[in-house]
């Protein structure tokens, strides 16, 4: 039940295969076809899938297990990005020191904010984290300009010291992993299809797998059990001889480190960092991902991150001319009506769809996509078996995991 059992191993293998084959799976449409715009298998987008997956996995360790709803996690992501870019400027374009420092900075920053915020719980905790994140955002824009380069954002320049790298000449250097350029992309042509295999994506994907594996370990550990106990009954916990504060703080710091890692990876893929990464709407986004996928479940946050990033990308590409091609076969009046009807939800209106979707999930499906999947399986299962089968009923009652 709680062990890193066969089910978890299978889950990990499935996720690993998906990460490995994503460039193929996400490019199902031939490059020349009109459906190619729905392909998601290009490096930039796939990198965001796995990086925001890491962010959401970390957030889930805090929110999914302890129930503490932080509205300030973007601050740690932003701090990680800044830290990473500084490493690129000062030390080397190798991503390793950048990522390591991003994790450390994310963790330290989280320890600081968490130490104060965790003195309160419930809505007060949410507002405290929100206040801290907004403060960081405001400071990054103004006073901390020497560190953050204010509104322009922190960027590389030719005059950076980069003490371990040979002096750059001509164009800005690119990030690398011991010489492997993060932008290096091999394109495989298979008939009309094109698949892009990108070094940066595979490195991020590998790191996400490690992060995912760690999160499974945490979920199945005594520590993870204690975090769920925090969510369930803090009073009983303290009368059982457990101090809740260190547990919540540890969870907060771990999730902060995940956020820092995600921020560092974003910078490793594209070496710049801006304050808008710290804004509370960015914090809201990771909350959305986690809830949409299924807070408290292992795979939920990864699904949520992928789902939101995919549809953000695809939906925002659908403009009126695309809609007209879709509905082109219909009579003119109907075509115009449908286009008018769908128009507000696509293209620039993607956030409207996202907001609606989010509300629907919170109202009808608090367990997110994972819960939805289980319900569908439950319905199918009930059809296959005779109604009232005790085993089927027991299975549908099993807690989320």
């Amino acid at each position: 039940m709680q062990s890193f059992g066969r089910k978890d191993t299978i889950l990990l293998i499935v996720v690993a295969l998906l990460v490995l084959l994503a460039p193929v799976i996400l490019n199902p449409f031939p490059q020349a076809s009109s459906l190619a715009q729905f392909n998601a298998g290009y490096p930039d987008l796939m990198q965001r899938f796995v990086i925001f997956g890491i962010f959401a996995i970390g957030f889930n360790i805090l929110f999914g297990l302890t129930g503490y709803l932080s509205f300030g996690h973007a601050a740690f992501l932003g701090a990680g990005s800044y830290a990473a870019v500084w490493m690129f400027k000062l030390l080397s374009m190798n991503v390793i020191p950048a990522i390591v420092l991003a994790v450390v900075v994310g963790g330290l920053f989280a320890a600081l904010i968490g130490y104060v915020s965790l003195r309160r719980s419930g809505i007060y905790f949410s507002i405290l984290t929100l206040a801290f994140a907004q403060m960081s955002f405001a400071l990054a824009y103004s006073v901390l300009t020497p560190l953050t380069n204010g509104e322009t954002g922190l960027q590389l320049s030719l005059s950076d010291p980069r003490i371990f790298d040979p002096a750059a000449t001509g164009s800005l250097p690119t990030t690398n992993l011991f010489g492997i350029d993060m932008r290096a992309t091999t394109t495989i042509f298979a008939g009309p299809w094109e698949f892009q295999l990108n070094a940066g994506y595979y490195m991020s994907g590998l790191i996400m797998l490690v992060a995912f594996w760690l999160s499974i370990r945490i979920f199945r550990s005594p520590f993870g059990m204690m975090l769920r106990a925090v969510k369930s009954n803090q009073q009983r916990m303290s009368y059982t001889g457990l101090s809740t504060r260190p547990y919540t703080l540890a969870a907060f710091v771990i999730s902060g480190m995940y956020a820092g890692l995600a921020g560092g990876l974003l910078a490793a893929m594209d070496p710049l960092a801006g304050a808008e990464r710290m804004q509370w709407t960015a914090s809201g986004e990771v909350v959305l991902m986690t809830i949409l996928g299924g807070a408290g479940s292992l795979i939920g946050p990864v699904l949520g991150a992928g789902f939101i990033k995919y549809f953000e990308n695809i939906f925002s590409k659908i403009n009126d001319s695309v809609l007209h091609t879709w509905f082109g076969a219909l009579p003119d009046g109907l075509e115009t009506a449908l286009v008018t009807l769908v128009h507000p939800f696509v293209g620039k209106g993607w956030h409207l769809t996202l907001g609606l979707l989010f509300m629907l999930v919170v109202i009808f499906l608090p367990g997110g996509l994972v819960e939805g999947g289980r319900r569908i399986r439950g319905v199918v299962g009930r059809r296959n078996r005779k109604a009232g089968d005790p085993e089927a009923r027991a299975a549908s009652k099993q807690p989320a995991e």
Binding site: I123, I127, A131, G349, H351, L352, G355, L356
Partner: protein
């Protein structure tokens, strides 16, 4: 001395907006126990009520005036607002000019309806759900509302001027005995403050002196007992939600001339208003008003050049800083009741 007065005055308009939004937030929290992240969106919708009315009033009939020609020599097209056609030149122009104050009348029914629909359609299903769920669903609603406004009005701020009579500034300093030109204050900000004061007084009077208000206050103190007395508390709470929405909406209507309305103004104000509610004390009406003005004025002081020179960036973070200190030192807020949400 005059500098201090100037900062207090400068803080009043923002303080008024904070106070009005926070008043509704805390009213909803106190009566319904719901944390409403969509309250900022109500403020924003109010501001767009002003925009909408202005657009309606300037709906025009296009006629071709043969007597005049444009620079190419063609007959000129003239847009005449219908109100001018109907009410005559001077009355019509005055109506258009007074669009923002008139929008108050327009906004009250709109906001009441929005509020009641929101409560009946969505919020009521979340009374028994955890605060986290309430935050999440109203957060989603806020996104939806602001995106709808964006779809109709676009992403750019829409200038919505005050009536001609209230544009410009006057020398407030002279009135209270300072040297000329030390305290120049825009008329509309004073109007806004007076308006806010009236609304706040009206809400307090309503709660204090009407039976309806008494029941609501009793319900805030002890919902179950009031329910046991056979009073239909739910319907009153629905009405209360409508009123809170109207208060936020009116705050938005009158704010339109101060800052041109844009679709994300609600979110900007929401975060700060929440901080205001927390500082004032969750569920405390007087606390919300006090904290609103206090923080507005504090923010204005922190924006003084002398202060910024001393502590760079303080103007950006002062409100959050105060909130953090209050939350840690006195979690029930300045005027919150003991034991209310003090975890």
């Amino acid at each position: 001395m005059d500098a201090i007065l100037l900062q207090i005055l400068n803080g009043l308009d923002k303080g008024s907006a904070y106070a009005l939004i926070a008043l509704g937030l805390t009213l909803i929290f106190g009566t319904l126990g719901v944390v409403n992240f969509a309250h900022g969106a109500l403020f924003m919708i109010g501001a767009f009520c002003a925009v909408t009315l202005q657009r309606i009033l300037t709906l025009s009939q296009t006629t071709i005036d043969e007597t005049r020609t444009d620079f190419l020599g063609n007959p000129m097209q003239v847009d005449t607002p219908y109100v001018v056609l109907w009410f005559g030149e001077s009355t019509g122009a005055a109506i258009v000019d007074w669009a923002v104050p008139l929008a108050i009348l327009f906004a009250i029914p709109v906001m009441l309806i929005v509020g009641v629909v929101m409560e009946r359609g969505l919020i009521q299903h979340f009374y028994k759900r955890p605060h986290a769920d309430q935050i999440l669903v109203t957060f989603g609603l806020a996104i939806v509302l602001q995106e709808i406004i964006k779809a109709f009005y676009g992403a750019n701020p829409i200038p919505t001027p005050a009536p001609q009579a209230f544009r410009g500034s006057f020398d407030f300093g002279v009135l209270v005995g300072f040297d000329p030109n030390t305290i120049i204050y825009p008329y509309w900000r004073l109007v806004y403050f007076a308006f806010a004061a009236i609304i706040i007084a009206a809400v307090f009077a309503f709660l204090r002196y009407t039976t309806f208000g008494m029941v609501v206050r009793a319900g805030m103190a002890d919902r179950e007992t009031v329910g046991l007395l056979g009073i239909n508390i739910d319907r009153r709470f629905t009405a209360m939600f409508g009123i809170a929405a109207a208060v936020a909406g009116l705050a938005g209507v009158m704010y339109a001339p101060i800052n041109a309305p844009n679709y994300h103004m609600g979110m900007d104000f929401l975060v700060l208003s929440f901080v205001v509610v927390v500082v004032g004390g969750m569920g405390s009406l007087a606390g919300a008003v006090l904290a609103g003005f206090l923080l507005g004025i504090l923010e204005s002081f922190a924006s003084m050049t002398a202060v910024i020179d001393l502590i760079p960036g303080i103007n950006q973070i002062i409100i959050y800083l105060v909130a953090i200190i209050v939350l840690l030192a006195r979690p029930r807020g300045l005027m919150g009741r003991r034991g209310v949400m003090e975890e």
